[in-house]
Amino acid sequence: MALKKYFPIFVLPTLAAFTIAFAVPFVLGLYLSFTEFTTVADAQWVGILNYIRAFSNDDFLNALWFTVKFTVVSVITVNLIAFALASILTKGLKGTNIFRTVFFMPNLIGGIVLGYIWQLIINGVLQTMGVTITYDPKYGFWGLVILMNWQLIGYMMVIYIAGIQNIPTDLIDASKVDGANRMQTLRNVTIPLVMPSITICLFLTLTNSFKLFDQNLALTAGAPSKQTAMLALDIYNTFYSRIGWEGVGQAKAVIFFVIVAAISFVQLMLTRKREVEQ
């Protein structure tokens, strides 16, 4: 086919941009995680020293634990509430579209802006107890969870609505005829049939929560004393506010990448298995 000769026009622009923005920095990043450097040119091979320093760094371990806790709580709350709202909004009530519009709206607002909106609200509430969000890490934690729910519920709800609307009505009717009650219908008919939506929503909330940065930076910036810094923010701080720690920052970034890749993979494998063929 003649198309083959058109490689420079069809592929080269994308490939060149991809090489500069992703491929070269990725390979370089892997390499630099085994070196000590301040600029790319002065790298000295140090083996796995950076990884040892990363794992013995309290800030990193704390950020890892904070991120895991935050992700678990967010994934559960976001998906439960989103699914509940989606099932209410698929009952044919009047005004469904208006509610959907309202619930989805926060998702379009950027992370930095979201962080400052919630900082005002949460500080306002905490003020009645005479403290602010940076007084105790638990305020920052629950603040981030509330923010994440506010941002992601609408997005996930829209995906669940599409999933529920795709279920053939006769299957629900058939389960009613067979004498199934509401809970039984939900557990044995609805949930297995919306499994593809559940897969994608779990995947999206999991990775979005785990990689959170902007919201974290704007809401608490890690305060008090880095205790509410998540992994992405800790890596950023290691690179840009600790001189001589660039190598450790890069090692942390590689660990971060490996965890994100592993979760994505395991999670997809697990839920794909449970999907039902229609």
């Binding site: 003649a2 198309l3 026009i9 069809f10 592929v11 622009p13 994308t14 490939l15 941009a17 991809f18 090489t19 500069i20 923005a21 920095p25 990725f26 370089l28 990043g29 709202l85 209410i88 698929t90 009952k91 044919g92 009530l93 509610f99 519009t101 309202v102 619930f103 989805f104 926060p106 379009l108 950027g110 992370g111 930095i112 802006v113 400052y116 909106i117 005002l120 500080n123 306002g124 003020q127 506010w150 829209v158 995906i159 529920i164 629900i172 593809p196 929503c201 990689k211 940065f213 930076l217 992405a232 890596i235 950023y236 690179f239 660039e246 890069q250 970034a253 971060f256 990448f257 994505s264």
Partner: protein, 281 residues
């Protein structure tokens, strides 16, 4: 779906109470910020939940001082510039690449497809430092350079989505165009691209939402010279001394207004795009 029947008014009322309560929780934060943007800057942190009164009302003072401090209009321009050109570049170039990958099947295009997919699961922090250095080395730390970087970062998801759609497009139409004497470029733009339009809209919306709101990448690459809206908002916070809460509230409101206008006009496409993107992602 199981419609609530007329006799079940109690259930229906309960559902409405829930929905209205949740709506209030979703709208309240934005409304509270909007109210506070009209209060004097020293009253905001003190009484965030009270309405402005004759003593605390500040008129548009926060807006004028915020616009000045953040150079908001310039930030708005750069946000728009970067988002529009990056989205055009992504839609145009990745759709062409995807067509090539799907139609020219060899080991090279297969490997390329795999690498694009792989890039989707790599978090930004992995390449944050090295990408910033590489881009600066190549003098790409300009708004146009940023467009190129966004093309590279957005390529994974976009190529994946276009390829997914193209696999279901029959070859016959393209072959007919080729026989009629079209070269591959003509075939792509006159025959293939029009078919790709729904996917192109989805790709455009997903990328526009990401790029418009993105903070870290533009901050690291061009932040010292050019500010986008998220950088301008964060800039108010950074620096020394106490934060001007009045200006911050006003800038939050100004950041949200364009998004809400865009959302109300394009809601149908946005929701469709999200669902289509999710199903394929």
């Amino acid at each position: 779906m199981n419609t609530v029947s007329g006799r079940n008014t109690a259930v229906r009322t309960l559902l409405y109470v829930i929905l209205i309560g949740v709506s209030a929780a979703f709208l309240a934060p934005v409304i509270i910020v909007a109210i506070n943007s009209f209060k004097g800057k020293f009253y905001i942190s003190e009484e965030p939940f009270s309405l402005p009164d004759s003593e605390t009302f500040a008129g548009l003072e926060n807006y004028t001082s915020g616009l000045e401090k953040t150079e908001f209009f310039s930030a708005f321009f750069w946000s728009l510039f970067i988002t529009v050109f990056s989205v055009i570049a992504i839609v145009l170039f990745t759709s062409m690449t995807a067509w090539y990958i799907v139609r020219v099947k060899n080991i090279f295009t297969k490997a390329l497809y795999f690498i694009f997919i792989f890039s989707m699961i790599v978090p930004f922090q992995m390449v944050m430092f090295t990408m910033t250095k590489t881009a600066a080395e190549l003098s790409l730390d300009t708004p146009w350079g940023l467009v190129l970087i966004y093309l590279g970062f957005g390529a994974g998801l976009a190529v994946f989505m276009f390829c997914g759609f193209l696999k279901s497009v029959p070859l016959e139409i393209e072959e007919a165009a080729m026989i009629d004497g079209c070269n591959p470029l003509q075939t792509f733009f006159m025959v293939v691209f029009p078919i790709l339009k729904p996917t192109a809209v989805t790709v455009a919306i997903l990328n526009a939402m990401w790029i418009w709101n993105d903070y870290l990448l533009p901050y690291l690459l061009i932040g010292s010279e050019y500010r986008t809206i998220p950088i301008a908002v964060q800039y108010l916070r950074g620096g020394y001394g106490s934060v001007d809460m009045g200006a911050l509230m006003a800038m939050l409101v100004l950041s949200i207004i364009p998004i809400i206008i865009f959302y109300l006009f394009c809601q149908k496409y946005i929701i469709k795009g999200i669902v289509a993107g999710a199903v394929k992602g």
